[in-house]
Symmetry: C2
């Protein structure tokens, strides 16, 4: 079974200057992984068209099955992601009638609810949200205004999602999840954790090596939670597999093996 | 004055699968920005040597003044960052005597404090932490075991830091900050925020454009906190400048201008 490689691109100065913690990338990484995808890379770039172009061209050249971008889809001057996508793909930006209808409907809904302070006028800032690269497909935004965008390319499906977390999550669940599931074909990510006390990571390391080579497909990674000299270590044990491969059994076997080795070496294994 | 471009590279599957929130990138982005650097890109990659090689080569080709990597420096098999750096730079990995002394001293200190459970033996996993690319310089880790690494290249200084946040932060403050300050030469980042109620982002957008074009060097970015139809928007106003450029005055002027425009358009400007 081929792996479903996926890359995440996050557009926004606020992520680079540390104003905003990149919870979108974590959320997307977790969701995509749990559905069996192999998240290869996360790239964060500035709100600069040529930077966005470079990052998208580089990602496309690696031919992941999916690229998901977040951010830069709104009505303001610094929402430049679609300009970047358009230039990267060498496709003109044009008003997409389907997208324009979506945006228009949103403002009519808003105005119906709050008639005083809201106009339905399609200002340039609003039309901007419906201006997509040629042959791109707008994707309904269940809870916000700017539609998401889907572009089918030869090796890759590119999704362009907004940066507001609730909107990004809603579009992902509605539109991206079914395609991801289809692509990973029932592969799922399984994970367990155990903890190790009284053993430095440098002494735990060869034991993990041993268990990994005995348990093909199972990945173990140690995460020191204390310091090397006051060790408290989480070992995260994962596998991406179909259910018929009995992944849960494989994880349990690896954990039992590691726990035995740890106890034999005077460490303390804590199974959670 | 030339800008001091900086890239951040984070190595670790745990960041890609969404197990761990990338607080390191945020912390580094914030620190570097506040010291006047221009953080261009954050890239997160898997614990795979060739992936690390690619990301480092790509970053070096963009010639930022600094590259800071985090993660993959410890004693375990999946700590592969130095292998990646070595291959990217085409420099052999070799035991660095200065680094070995650092590591040895750490284990002697640990053993002196906890004589029963700790040995000072330099096992392969421990020697690994002192195995650096040729001509790399180990950098003292004030609170952990694995030394950081500094590599001076033609256009770029590359820092390789551990992924444990407290260790990464300690090395950054001790070793990276003085070099960054020297490079940015007194440029500092200034920021203020204001909030806007009762105005959709699509209507605020042209007002922001106007203020930006009237106030050169000042950057305004709107961050919707509510939804487009129940708008509560933060406007983040920033400038990177030397003190003689009176950055605080420039920020205040831009804020006052934007507040006036907002009130003229029936919005509510809230100065914090």
């Amino acid at each position: 079974m081929m792996t479903t490689d996926l890359e995440i691109i996050c557009v926004g100065n606020e992520l680079l200057i540390g104003k905003t913690l990149n919870t979108n990338a974590q959320w997307l990484g977790r969701q995509a992984t749990s559905l069996g995808a192999n998240v290869k890379r996360i790239t964060v770039v500035q709100d600069i068209v040529d930077e966005i172009v470079n990052v998208i061209c580089e990602a496309l050249a690696r031919k992941p099955r999916f690229i998901i971008s977040t951010g830069g889809l709104g009505p303001t001057f610094d929402d430049k992601t679609l300009q970047g996508v358009s230039k990267a793909l060498n496709r003109k930006l044009e008003i997409n009638q389907k997208a324009l209808t979506m945006v228009k409907q949103k403002y009519e809904e808003y105005a119906a609810k709050r008639p005083v302070s809201t106009t339905t006028e399609l200002t340039p800032a609003r039309v901007k949200m419906a201006t997509l690269p040629e042959k791109a497909e707008p994707v309904g935004n269940p809870i916000g205004t700017a539609p998401g965008v889907k572009v089918d390319l030869e090796a890759t499906v590119l999704f362009v999602l907004p940066g507001v977390p609730s909107e990004m999550e809603a579009i992902f669940c509605e539109t991206v999840v079914p395609l991801l599931k289809q692509s990973t074909g029932g592969m799922v990510f399984y994970e367990k954790s155990m903890f190790v006390d009284n053993m430095m990571e440098s002494r735990l390391s060869p034991l993990i090596d041993k268990v990994m080579s005995n348990n093909k497909g199972v990945y173990l990674k140690s995460h020191p939670m204390g310091a090397e000299n006051k060790p408290h270590i989480e070992v995260h044990i994962t596998i991406t597999a179909g259910e018929k491969d009995k992944p849960e059994e494989k994880l349990s076997r690896a954990i039992a093996e590691l726990a035995t080795l740890i106890e034999e070496n005077n460490g303390k294994a804590i199974l959670s």
